[in-house]
């Protein structure tokens, strides 16, 4: 009974009790909140600071500096890491690097292959072909057109290997002194009396100037001169021009593949094409050139996989569409101070980049957009004055009474600002094309779509610099996914050690309306940003 009495008493007393409340103040606050809700814009202390400082302050805000610092540190760490890797590789015997006007053959198994070639040469000698290893190399290199083709064919396997290592094999031989007496390809018939047969096939010439400099792991054709032998001329021209992207020197299982073909900067790998045989192999040069380098004529889907971290500060431009008179009124009252926005995105992107220049990339990123809108909130307040009449005392002692105004109308103006904080996870997919400007620098362009999932949309609004109300979640915004059209245009620099630096313009157009349908405006953004990236070529 007591229980019922307690509950009943409290409930009956409080259920109808009305506390005193100043409804004018309450209504003003509600109006501000409603207008803010209709606009979908917000305010924060950080954004207020940005608003005061302008776009420059916004661009160099702490968050962006932190983001760029992280990307920079990752890049520096990557460079140091791969620098050390590169030094380790340099200490290995078969790392080959190109120099201007030279031709390099990089081979992970140069020593063994050279030995084999030497053995091969020995085998050829045993078959009666009295040649030096150099001769054997050159001859076998021209197996299709050389007069000794038939001889070589008797020992095709070994000669083919020699073909594949035509230059490498010379590495194992004592250096031939450049001599007018030497054969066109560095063979000095006089130094090898038993090479008469070779001499017939490779007539010696006084003008022959091809010399081989034998270095432990490097062979360099330093000069290619005239030759009387047509085949040798063809070979010399072929090597000198280095214009073929894929130079198959033999129709057999082994071939010499140029990885890049620009004159004076050729890098080519010695690759044994027969998968069944041992890997003679190519060690990709440490200096990664643009995958599209060479004009993309090598084409195909072969290419690189590139992992990249991107940091993109944006300048965002709101696109507002009024759907009703109310929305149009809001647009008219809106001040042009909402340009102070902080938009930032960090992406982790994987890119497959073909040698033809075409690439596709996909990635995931985390982004923010802090927006601020300033609105002039005008309202008319009508108050009832407690003055029924005005009494005027005339000189004659009589009084006139004039009805006093019962209502006093007063216009008031308030500046209210709303700040919103949007946080989102974004998934992006795009296709692009890269054009190499030289071996290290390329220009790229890409276009794609992104889908973002909003993780939070908080904010609050301020009326005349006084915090009125804050929102953990802004009900004015849609919480569904958003879609964007994305694009980019910029430059990539392929450093040594496979690190790729990129910088360029990034563009995003928000396709989805941010505001819920029941509100009188639509809000979308166009973002223009600076895409900075650090990547690694795998």
């Amino acid at each position: 009974m007591e229980k019922d009495k307690l509950e009943h008493s409290i409930k009956s007393k409080l259920s109808s009790y009305e506390s005193a409340v100043n409804t004018d103040n309450l209504w003003a606050g509600i109006q501000a909140g409603m207008t803010e809700a209709a606009t979908g814009t917000a305010v924060s202390s950080a954004s207020a600071t940005a608003a005061k400082g302008g776009i420059l302050t916004s661009l160099i805000s702490t968050k962006w500096i932190l983001g760029l610092s992280v990307v920079g540190l990752i890049g520096i760490a990557a460079i140091f890491y791969f620098q050390s890797q590169h030094q380790n590789k340099q200490s290995e015997p078969f790392d080959q690097r190109s120099t201007p006007n030279t031709t390099h053959i990089a081979s992970t198994s140069a020593t063994s292959s050279s030995n084999k070639e030497y053995v091969g040469s020995e085998e050829i000698k045993k078959t009666g072909h009295n040649r030096t290893s150099n001769n054997s190399d050159i001859a076998s290199s021209n197996v299709n057109s050389n007069p000794i083709e038939g001889v070589v064919s008797k020992n095709s396997e070994s000669s083919l290997e020699n073909t594949s290592h035509s230059t490498s094999s010379t590495m194992m031989l004592p250096q031939n002194e450049p001599s007018k007496e030497s054969s066109p390809l560095g063979v000095n018939p006089t130094s090898n009396p038993s090479s008469h047969q070779t001499s017939e096939e490779f007539p010696s010439t006084n003008e022959s100037n091809i010399s081989s400099s034998s270095v432990a792991q490097e062979s360099t054709v330093t000069k290619i001169g005239d030759t009387k032998n047509e085949t040798q001329v063809e070979l010399a021209t072929e090597v000198a021009n280095q214009s073929t992207e894929l130079e198959e020197l033999s129709t057999s299982k082994t071939s010499l593949v140029y990885s890049n073909s620009l004159e004076n900067m050729a890098h080519f790998n010695l690759t044994k094409m027969d998968a069944t045989t041992e890997f003679i192999g190519s060690l990709p040069p440490n200096k990664v050139t643009c995958p599209s380098f060479g004009g993309g004529s090598r084409g195909g889907l072969r290419g690189y996989f590139v992992g990249e971290v991107q940091a993109i500060p944006y300048y965002s431009i709101p696109r507002i569409t009024a759907l009703s008179e109310e929305g149009e009124l809001w647009k008219q009252n809106k001040l042009e101070t909402e340009k102070y926005l902080e938009t930032f995105q960090v992406n982790a992107v994987g890119r497959y980049q073909t040698n033809s220049g075409l690439y596709v990339h996909g990635g995931v990123g985390y982004g923010q957009l802090d927006e601020k809108f300033d609105i002039n909130l005008s309202q008319t307040i009508t108050t009832v004055e407690d003055l029924p009449v005005i009494i005027i005392i005339r000189p004659d002692g009589m009084n006139d009474t004039i009805p006093a105004p019962l209502e006093v109308t007063q216009d008031s103006m308030a500046l209210y600002s709303t700040y919103n904080y949007h946080r989102m996870v974004e998934f992006t997919a795009a296709v692009g094309y890269e054009i190499a400007l030289n071996s290290a620098l390329a220009v790229y362009g890409d276009i794609g779509m992104s889908v973002n999932l909003y993780t939070s949309r908080s904010g609050y609004h301020i009326v005349d610099n006084v915090d009125v109300v804050s929102f953990d979640e802004r009900p004015v915004f849609k919480t569904s996914t958003g879609y964007k059209l994305t694009g980019g245009l910029g430059l990539r620099y392929y450093t040594e050690n496979r690190v790729v630096l990129s910088g360029g313009i990034d563009f995003r157009s928000h396709l989805s309306n941010w505001i819920r349908d029941e509100h009188p405006i639509e809000l979308r953004y166009t973002d223009i940003g600076l895409r900075l990236g650090v990547g690694y070529v795998f």
């Binding site: 409930k11 409080l14 109808s16 009305e18 506390s19 409340v21 309450l26 909140g33 809700a37």
Partner: protein
């Protein structure tokens, strides 16, 4: 303005109807907010946010859901709960001896609404929430448990403790002049 006119006007987002709604129900809803919040400023914040939500979601109101007053009252209560989850410690405790205090039933009817309200607002947070939701809003203990993320048994226990505390304090203040010191001018 009649309630039906207010409703139809609010559905069309007419400012005059919205203002009328505020004028009509602000006092009652402020009482609801004050029951949940221990300080006036928080109660006013909640009231304002609740009205904004009412107007933003007015299309969701239907008479099938009950009276407009009760619908708005629940919005205020939910807003208070949302605020409580963020700002308040829900792990307070109260002396169990208060469970055994008895009070004279006659006392209840003699109390002014502001006095009762003050007593309710002095309750520890976890007891006040359960008391309001059960006694005033009419939720059962299962619903309260879901709202407050507690067990239904805990809700029952908290309600019993809340009542006990109220009885104790009423007895303590029966002959206490402190009642007279309660400021009834809230705003």
């Amino acid at each position: 303005m009649k309630e039906t006119e207010i409703i139809s006007g609010c559905l069309r987002s007419q400012a005059s109807a919205q203002r009328a709604l505020v004028d009509t129900y602000a006092g009652y809803l402020f009482t609801v907010a004050r029951r949940y919040m221990p300080d006036e400023a928080s109660a006013q914040d909640i009231l304002q946010e609740a009205f904004i939500k009412v107007f933003s979601n007015f299309h969701q109101f239907s008479k099938e859901k009950g009276k407009l007053k009760n619908w708005m009252s629940r919005i205020v209560a939910n807003e208070a709960l949302r605020r409580r989850k963020k700002y308040m410690d829900y792990h307070q405790s109260e002396d169990p001896e208060t469970l055994y205090i008895k009070a004279d039933p006659k006392v209840w009817s003699d109390l002014h609404e502001e006095q009762i309200l003050a007593l309710v607002r002095e309750l520890p947070d976890q007891y006040r929430m359960v008391f309001n939701l059960y006694i005033m809003e009419g939720y059962d203990h299962k619903e309260i448990g879901e709202k407050l993320n507690i067990n239904a048994s805990t809700s029952r226990s908290n309600l019993a403790r809340a009542k006990a505390i109220l009885r104790k304090r009423i007895i303590q203040t029966e002959n206490d002049d402190s009642w007279k010191k309660i400021n009834l001018n809230i705003v």
